[in-house]
């Protein structure tokens, strides 16, 4: 094939330029350490990197969220521990006050300490986190949830729990409302509560009772009425049934799948009422206890009344403690879930980052060897150009 001189020149200089361009591109890759300089270098990879980077950013944000939730749940946990300790102390005092060795005066001393505890409990319920947000106010977190009134404590917060996003598809509740922790605690044994009728004249003291068979068909309110039979025997009947049974103090009275025990000696006409358990705030429970300790004298009937009231308060306290334990267990479960989520996110982050690096990062070994190859190519092109340019027939004429 014929070849023209100018084309021959153009082709040989063109190949030098081409080598140079390739070399410059590889040099850019080497200098930046990036395999993709513009999306055109690898369109699929570039789009993938954008998606992956977005996921990484989101996960990092979620990790921060999880950290914040951890802090909040940690604050809540600390307060709940305090509340638990307080309730424990109150229960000890109640048990102590229940002892017959205490006179009415001594009971009032105990009541005085309970009043302190009461104030402390209100303070705990009004705890704030580091940002000045009330822990137990629900969504109204900028307003003090519990306030004292003449009659007791009022809850001003709401029942909204806050969700926080801690994983790409995972939202967690990160708080409990005061309603949940302090207010809506069932009283009695959780199913029913017991109390003596107002005009009881005997020394009968009823315990908080138990449920033996939830399907037993118990209907509340239920009444246990006492009478003295013609023979002078103490008998009781349930719900006005007329089915009189002999009464033995301390022996369980069972009916409709439930059981209560009455100790002491009720008088003729005394009665005890079993009511369906209702929500009762921890504050009401404490106030009831204080009221019971501050009332009555030292005669047996007053004592029986106080025993009944304290017994009821202890049952309510047990419910309150159980409720705090439940909430703490939930907090623990959430903290555990966050921990797990943090781990999962961390692993996902590692994986995503390595995926990005796989797409984006330059394989230096490969790039350097390519660079060297291109360098040799350029040198060859340059040298051959110079050598060939020297050749011309005219030189020989």
């Amino acid at each position: 094939m014929r070849i023209s001189t100018s084309q021959f020149q153009a082709v040989s200089i063109g190949s030098v330029l081409q080598h140079q361009a390739k070399l410059s591109k590889t040099q850019q890759h080497l200098a930046t350490g990036q395999r993709i300089l513009t999306p055109a270098d690898d369109p699929v990879g570039a789009a993938r990197v954008l998606d992956l980077t977005a996921s990484i950013g989101e996960l990092q944000r979620l990790q921060d969220n999880a950290g914040m939730a951890q802090t909040r749940l940690g604050s809540e946990e600390a307060v709940l521990v305090e509340v638990g300790n307080l309730l424990q102390r109150v229960r000890e005092l109640a048990v102590q006050a229940n002892n017959d060795s205490n006179s009415a005066t001594e009971r009032r001393f105990i009541a005085a300490e309970l009043r302190e505890r009461f104030e402390q409990l209100v303070q705990l319920a009004n705890s704030t986190d580091g940002n000045g947000e009330y822990l137990f106010a629900g969504a109204a977190s900028r307003e003090q949830p519990f306030s004292r009134t003449a009659t007791g404590v009022v809850y001003n917060g709401d029942q909204n729990e806050r969700m926080v996003q801690v994983g790409p598809t995972r939202q967690l509740v990160e708080n409990h409302t005061g309603f949940d922790v302090f207010m809506k605690v069932p009283n009695g044994n959780g199913t029913f509560s017991t109390q003596p009728a107002a005009g009881n004249r005997g020394t009968g003291v009823i315990d908080s009772g138990r449920v033996l068979d939830p399907e037993g068909g118990a209907v509340f309110p239920a009444t246990i009425l006492f009478r003295e039979s013609a023979s002078g025997r103490l008998e009781y009947a349930v719900n006005g049934s007329g089915d009189w049974q002999p009464f033995e103090p301390g022996e369980a009275i069972r009916f409709d799948g439930i059981e209560v025990t009455i100790t002491g000696v009720p008088a003729d006409g005394d009665s005890f009422v079993l009511e369906r358990s209702r929500p009762q705030s921890v504050f009401v429970t404490l106030q009831n206890l204080i009221d019971a300790l501050e009332s009555g004298g030292d005669n047996v009937i007053d004592r029986a009344r106080v025993h009944n009231a304290i017994g009821r308060a202890i049952a309510d306290l047990d419910q309150a403690q159980e409720n705090v334990l439940r909430v703490r267990a939930e907090v623990g479960a959430r903290l555990y879930a966050i921990e797990a989520e943090l781990d999962t996110n961390e692993n996902a982050l590692l994986e995503l980052k390595s995926a990005v690096s796989k797409i984006e990062d330059l394989d230096y070994a490969k790039a350097v060897s390519e660079f060297n190859l291109q360098l040799v190519g350029l040198q060859a092109a340059q040298q051959s150009y110079v050598r060939i340019q020297g050749l011309s027939l005219f030189n020989l004429l």
Binding site: I3, Q7, T53, D64, S141, M183, K184, P279, Q280, S281
Partner: protein, 568 residues
Amino acid sequence: MADLFQTSVSGMLAFQRALATTSHNISNVNTKGYSRQRVELTTLTPTLVGGGWAGSGVGIAQIRRMADDDRNANVRSNTAEYNRLNTFAELSGRIDGLLADKNAGLAPSLQAFFNSVQQAAADPTSSTARDVMLTEGRNLVSRFHFLSSRLTELEKEVNTRLEVTVDEVNELASAVARLNQEIAVALGRSQGAPPNDLLDKRDALLEQLSERVATQVVALADGSVNVFIGNGQPLVAAAVSNPLKTVASADDPSRREIAFVAGGSTVNITNNITGGSLGGLLDFRRESLDVVKGELDELATVLATEFNRVHRLGVNFDQGTMQRGGDFFVITDPANAARTIDVALTRPSEIAWASPALTGEWTDDTGQSVNTGTGKIGAARVGADVDLESPAAFDTIRLVRTGSGYRAEITARDGSLAVIEPVPTVDGSLQIAVAGGSIAVEVTGNPDEGDAFFIKRNVNGRGDNTNLLALADLRNHKLMEDGDATVQEFYSRVVGRVGTQTLRANVNRDAQEVMLEQAVAYREEVSGVNLEEEAAEMLRYQQAFQASAQLIVTANAVFQSLLDAVGR
């Protein structure tokens, strides 16, 4: 004897011409578009002598231009295609770099924005976090503006280049027309001997023309050519050239299009133009620029619409009172969404982060529940058009469990009471009609008869983050492409597609470059000057010339000897 002189002189003259042509070739070795020339020799008419027809020397038949029209046409069409692809690849690469740039692209600010929403959701009472959200929102729209303005700049550049290129095409076309005329005249004067250098010049012009637009060249009998572009518009008809001009687009006055002017009428031929840098510019605008611009607008529109829709579902406590959220983003010109999107809010407290209504168990004065059952009420879903402001708007709804279902006692803000029966829906929630719209809630568990729940106007629930969570969740919603892609995925797809387009343009350009080189090599095979060859030619003609000159000496000697013989 005279014959001998004449014959050798004819040789000397012919070889001199041949040497001159060789010299012409050598001189033009670097002239673009030059086609090498060859002197074609022929024997002169023989004369009849006693013994028969005696040769009378050599003459020049033709100075032939070594060119092949097919090869030239091949170079032209490849040039047009190469320039189209080159222009496309160059401009496409600019968009490519713009969109995916780690700092200039949209992806980082989209991500930062949604992260800031998520952060605000995690700390709903913090106005700092909401301030950050507002700032990130502004960053996002300014990124939209930036990208949009860069695309507009590119569009302006396309406009300018179209104008410049059209001017160049017009100049080249009129130059071709002039040369057509000159060539026709020269051919007439030389009675058919081709004006080689003029032809070369015209071919060079035609090649330059095809760098700008794909042409079809048709040769005429008088040596001139017609040049057609588009679908048959005669850019050059013999000695006449018809100009192109740029006109404003009917759809968008800021956009230039190409029209063909002939005989006083102007025809828009934008869609018929192919090849060359003109074709590349138009292709780029149509296939890349317009598409990306449209996608960016779509992204801005969907993002603003959806974000606003959710934002309006929530409430803020701006200036102390609860009120429904307004639009977060505003788009003033829907046709240019990316350029005109803006953040409508001015203060962080205007961000609607909470739900308009809070729910819970009905409580007495001390905040204690009155319920005995295990029923629980879920969050209220308050419709976007539910009235929150007027006196007739709901204030408190008491939802009471009755023997057969539920009863809703709705107290309005003006204190009036309405009792209605909520409508159970298929998803298990209860629909409660209130002023302006309806509220949906769900009750789970087993409420006892008489148990009650409340749905209250959210007057102080500043710690509620329901709406921010919903806003943050938009990131994961497949809002684009008929529910097939999230906004982030959509943007990635745009980047990927532009990258692919650029890559394809580059690959095609490189392939076309090879094609063009081959076409040029193919032409040069015939037309190119090779100095070695010319050196050989030079030697050949030099020797022939010297031989002819020697013949004169010989003739002289012969003649002298004759004179000597006679003169004695």
